[in-house]
Symmetry: C2
Subunit: 124 residues, 2 copies
Amino acid sequence: MSETSTHLLVPTGRGQRGACLGPDGSAAQVMRVIRMVQGRWRMPIIFRLYADSPVRTLQLKRDLQGVSLKVLTQHLRELAKHGLIERTDFGEKPLRVEYRLSEMGRGLVPILRAAKDFSLRYPA
Amino acid sequence: MSETSTHLLVPTGRGQRGACLGPDGSAAQVMRVIRMVQGRWRMPIIFRLYADSPVRTLQLKRDLQGVSLKVLTQHLRELAKHGLIERTDFGEKPLRVEYRLSEMGRGLVPILRAAKDFSLRYPA
DNA sequence: CCGTATCCCAATAGATACTG
DNA sequence: CAGTATCTATTGGGATACGG
């Protein structure tokens, strides 16, 4: 196909510069991931669940230190909606709800490790 | 140090579950990267510069299609402030400003590739 | 050509009070 | 215990107009 070297995002051809990030929609695919994990408490939640889960709600709140229950619940709901975590409601009394990282959530690990490496290699 | 298995984030010890993401501050390091790249037009800008740079301002605006000059400039300033891109102002008339991905900006590539892989492996 | 200044709207998140 | 309801402050980004 034609010479698209200066055109929108990355050209479709393989082997040239930029090809390893893929054809056009790559930015959108990356943005999707960013939207899933962005938010004041999402990384703390994900790391906490990764270190040890399942965890009950109030234990999570205590460990995150500083988050309100409202905001924590909002984030947990969003994370569960996107499939990164799983919510288990035992229909007990007193109430008992647990959260755990899903298989998809564990799939984030390579991204997080790459991001952490980047932060270490390029300090603020 | 006591048994921290259920404690804050990831325990300091090596070799257990969670250790591959590192000790405590990892969430903050990842959040730093997220803050640098989050924003409506940052991924499109980064991918565009990665595909071909340097690029002049209005060419970038045309390629991004839909962004206003104000918002584009805001993002470019922030990206430059964090060191991900470089801004070159040739003191010419008519005005001529170019943006290019920095070495640090290219350091994002492993993260972006991991994020793209994740999106493909776990579609919406 | 490359911005900045203003105004506006929606989304985020903190504080606080209430509920099954 | 595990939420929801309100209210508020701040931020991000779009539209538009103006300026060097």
